[in-house]
Every structure is written in C-alpha cells, then in structure tokens.
C-alpha cells in the first residue's frame, strides 16, 4: 500500500518515456519537437508535484492561511517554460531552414542526401568525376 503514494512519479516516468519514444521513433522533425515538448512537461510535473503539500494553498501570502506549497520549484519551472518556448522557436526555425535546403523534414531523406553529397565530394577529391561522367555517357549511348 505504501508504494501507491508514489503515483506522481510514475505519471512523470510514463510521460517522459512517451516523449522519449516520439523523439527516437519518428523521423519527422516537427514530431520530434512535439516529443521533446512532452518530455519537457514531464520534468515540469516532477518538480511541481514534489513542491505540493496536501491541504496547503498556493504560495501567495495571506493572513487566513498557515500552510503553503513550496514556491521554489514554481520559480524554477516558470522560467524553464519560457526558456523552453525560446528553444522550441529556435528548433522550429532550424526545421524551416532544413526544409528549404533539403526539400524534406524526414530524417531518412536528409541522411540519404548527405551521404550522396559526401560521396560526390570524395569522388571529386580523387579526380574520379570526369571518368564517371564519361562512363555515364557511355552508358547512355
């Protein structure tokens, strides 16, 4: 029975793993950012639920209340949320630039294009490019 008092941490763990799963499993970069946001909120819940005291009230001082929840996690998480939106905005603008440069926001497509570029650069460095083009022409003929 004692273990049941820990349910807030289990919710945090489940949410955290859902977010983590989305970040790993999906190839779409926008979905990865949504997964990161869920991961982030799970950490917010961890902090805020630790600060709560049953039967207390929000930490705004008033004469008719004696017991308040812990204000420190609230402060930390409040700023974390705003920093979170700032980093999300930065991530989204990176996604926009990736879409413009690669024409896709799927991780797999981007990696294939990168490998192709790398391969061509190496061929160029070894001076194989001309031979390849003549080889292509031979094939076309």
């Amino acid at each position: 029975m004692n273990i049941l008092g820990l349910y807030n941490y289990w919710i945090v763990v489940i949410l955290m793993l859902i977010g983590f799963y989305i970040v790993i499993a999906h190839e779409n970069l926008v979905k990865k950012l949504v997964g990161l946001a869920i991961f982030q909120t799970s950490v917010f819940f961890l902090y805020i639920s630790m600060g709560k005291i049953t039967g207390a009230t929000a930490p705004i001082l008033d004469k008719q209340w004696q017991l308040y929840s812990n204000p420190l996690p609230h402060v930390l998480i409040l700023t974390a949320i705003v920093v979170g939106i700032a980093t999300t905005a930065l991530g989204l603008s990176l996604v926009v630039r990736i879409q413009e440069a690669y024409g896709s926001i799927e991780e797999n497509d981007i990696q294939i294009q990168d490998t192709q570029d790398q391969f061509e650069c190496q061929l160029e460095a070894y001076g194989v490019q001309e031979k390849l083009t003549t080889f292509d022409q031979d094939l076309d003929e």
Binding site: M16, F20, H26, G51, A58, I60, L61
Partner: protein, 302 residues
C-alpha cells in the same frame, strides 16, 4: 497519426490540460505561464512552421524498445510520498522564503519575490537566454530587404475577408493588451509577472497581425524598433543590478535603491519585471514576424 496539423493541435490541448493540472498542484504562476506559452504561443509557432513544411509525414518510423522505464520506476521507490509536508524539499530554503519574505521583500506573491529578488541573478540569465534565442531565430530566418520590398506591396492578410473575426478581434485586442499590463504590474500581489505579461502582450499583437496583415502591423511595430526593444529589456534588468552596485549594495540587491529597504525591493522588482516583460514580448513578436515573412517570401517569390 500522419497529419501534423492534428499533432500540433493535440499538443496544444495537452498543454492546456497540463496547465489545469499545475493549477491543482498549487502552482498558479506556472499554470498561467503554461496556458499562455505552451497552449498559446508554442502552438502558434508550430502552426507557422507547418505553413512552410509539408503537412503530412511519411509514417516511417523506427521500433525502439525501451527498458529505461522499468529502471526509472525502480528508482522512484525511495522517493518521498506525494503531498507529504515533511519531504526533504520543504526543509531547506523554502521555509525561509515563506516565513521571512513578507518582512524582507514585502510582496505577498512569494513566487515573484523569489523570482525577481532572491534568485534575481538566475532570472537575469533566463532573460539573456530568451534574448539569445531571439537573435538565433533572427539570423536563421533572415530575408533580404529586396525580397521584402518586392513582397510588401502584395501581401493581403489571409483573413482580411473574415468580417466577424475582424469585428470581434477589434473588441478583444485592447482588452488583451490591458490584461497584459494588469498581469505585468499586479504580479507582486497575484499570479503573474513579466514572463506571462510579455507573452500575453505579444499574443494580442500577433492576433492583430493575423487579421490585419503583416505590413499594417509593422507600421506600428517596426522591425528595428522591436529588435531594439529586445535589447532594452535585458539592458534595463542589468542596469538595475549595476545601480545597486553603485549605491553600495550587492549586484541586484534592491534594498539600497531607496531609504527604506522594503520600498527599494518594491522598486527593484517592478523595474526588473518590466525588463523581463519588454524582452519577452518583443522577442516573441520578432520570432512570429520572422516566420510570417518567410511564408510571404515563399508565397510570392517563387
């Protein structure tokens, strides 16, 4: 789920629900921030991105197996129980904040006094992070002045024809802006403060931009003025800190600002929160404008 629009809307709903949960956990300021930032601005920025990237994804995915969860749950077994007043979290610095902040700072909202005064240096850092993120977005989504001039003449707002939305918004926008100012200056006594007020103010202007067009909004909120204001907020915050130094106190120790320490704290918190509000509002507006200019560029210059 292949439709990214549905994904983004659901994550907005998730944010709003988690704001309700934060309220239940007695974190009123956090709930306020999550509702305005997570459900409001974040969803908006995701939608602005969706205008620039394909709406449907390819449904390809990896299949990872996660054993981490079991380990994490095992790790929670030693944690203090939920809602217990004798948990270690409540025993170190929190009682001091709750018992003595009224005499030292004189502000009923303990979250505000911790945020702006006890941990003022921390908040200065957070404001700088937002400023830096704003600069990052500005440099990533830069577009040339020529492209901007070309598209300026032909950018009608997408929702210019929606008469009902326009009339309702005309009534709503002044109220939203006044509410933002209330949240800004009433943050000492109730939930609220610079972060939330900045985001709400930006949301009001963004609503205006969406309905009346980007070039109309930028007549009032010029790009250069906005970029200046992002810096002015951080500058105001830091200069309050330096003013404390020159008047004989520590950095961001507001007690020396006036003859009475509590009055000094009041003045310091007011100025610092104003700095935070200015920076957050102008960074959020700048980010949204950058995304919208990008959309305009794609629409007309291809």
């Amino acid at each position: 789920m292949g439709d990214l629009f549905a994904v983004v809307m659901l994550s907005g709903i998730y944010s709003l629900l988690s704001a309700a949960l934060f309220l239940d956990l007695h974190a009123v300021d956090v709930a306020f921030t999550e509702a305005s930032v997570g459900a409001g601005i974040s969803t908006l920025l995701f939608l602005a991105t969706l205008k620039l990237v394909p709406r449907y994804d390819k449904k390809s995915r990896y299949k990872p197996t996660l054993a981490t969860g079991a380990l994490l749950i095992y790790g929670t077994l030693d944690m203090p129980h939920f809602g217990k007043a004798d948990a270690p979290v409540h025993e170190h610095v929190a009682p001091r904040y709750l018992n003595e902040s009224m005499e030292e700072i004189g502000v009923p909202n303990v979250v505000t006094s911790v945020l702006a005064s006890y941990r003022g240096f921390d908040t200065l850092g957070e404001t700088l992070v937002i400023f830096t993120a704003g600069i990052g977005v500005m440099s990533l989504l830069r577009i040339s002045r020529q492209a901007k001039e070309e598209s300026k003449s032909k950018t009608p707002a997408d929702m210019q024809q929606q008469v009902i939305l326009r009339v309702v918004a005309k009534m709503m926008i002044p109220l939203i802006l006044i509410f933002a100012l209330y949240v800004q200056f009433h943050g000492d006594y109730g939930p609220g403060g610079g972060f939330q007020a900045g985001v709400i103010f930006a949301a009001g202007i963004i609503l205006y931009t969406m309905l009346f067009g980007l070039s109309t909004a930028q007549k009032i909120f010029n790009r250069k003025v906005l970029e200046l204001f992002t810096a002015i907020g951080v500058f105001l915050y830091a200069s309050v800190g330096f003013a404390c130094l020159f008047m004989g106190g520590n950095f961001l120790d507001y007690s020396v600002l006036r003859h009475d320490p509590v009055h000094g704290q009041h003045l310091g918190i007011l100025l610092v929160e104003l700095g935070v509000g200015i920076t957050v509002a102008s960074v959020m507006m700048t980010i949204f404008f950058k995304f919208t200019w990008r959309t305009v560029k794609h629409k007309y210059n291809q």
